[in-house]
Symmetry: C2
Subunit: 134 residues, 2 copies
């Protein structure tokens, strides 16, 4: 599906031209992660039907799952009332969204005054990502 | 509950000293809204057991529901893997999180190439907020 520029113009991009996107499991509502999109990555997401983010550290598009295989198939895209946050309802391929090998990035629970890891690591990150080149 | 500074130090506050917080309905997982917190508002949230945000436009703490009555009781606070986004699991008093009178702020669905409002207005915003002073 080709994306009309007007659709992107309705978004309140921040000063860096970005908008945060929340990825939520479409099946059970679990919040999986938050990442950023720019115009190009949102257009690519819509056209390809999968989550394509913009990596602020690497300064380039990042097709979620391009290394790990854990793609996010888009079921729905929503925009909030003031147009500055996206909500993606996704099918999480592989059942793992977090680079730590956990299902969700939100695995640190505030409990008795400290952050405690409460979600299991489902897969060793070394198995998810190819070794970095020197 | 008094908040230890170390707990707040583990957060990767942005350059403005803020972190985005996603409010999610604890009962059915609906994503309700996203707002911002600073150290003071997160500490107040923890101590008071309700969502206290920082309003960037008004530059002050904002106890969610202070005008509308639609408070958010905190059931859980989670932090993500890189420490720069919070997930609040809340009980939404009044069943309305959005200032437009809808349950969720994410009521604009991308459909056939355009954003379409797909959630009903449950309460007239004029009934939710007292008239602004001239």
């Amino acid at each position: 599906m080709k994306v009309a520029p007007e659709l992107l113009d309705e978004i309140r991009w921040d000063q860096a031209g970005l908008i945060p996107a929340i990825a939520q499991d479409h099946a059970d509502g679990a919040v999986l992660m938050v990442a950023w999109m720019n115009r190009e990555s949102l257009a690519a997401s819509i056209e390809e039907g999968r989550a394509v983010y913009y990596s602020r550290s690497r300064r380039k598009l990042w097709r979620k799952g391009e290394e790990s295989g854990n793609r996010q198939i888009l079921r729905e895209i929503r925009l909030d009332c003031d147009g500055d946050t996206l909500l993606l309802r996704v099918e999480q391929i592989g059942g793992i969204a977090c680079h730590t090998g956990r299902r969700s990035c939100f695995y640190r629970l505030l409990e008795n005054g400290a952050w405690r890891d409460v979600e299991p690591v489902l897969k060793d990150p070394r198995e998810m990502y190819p070794p970095k080149r020197g």
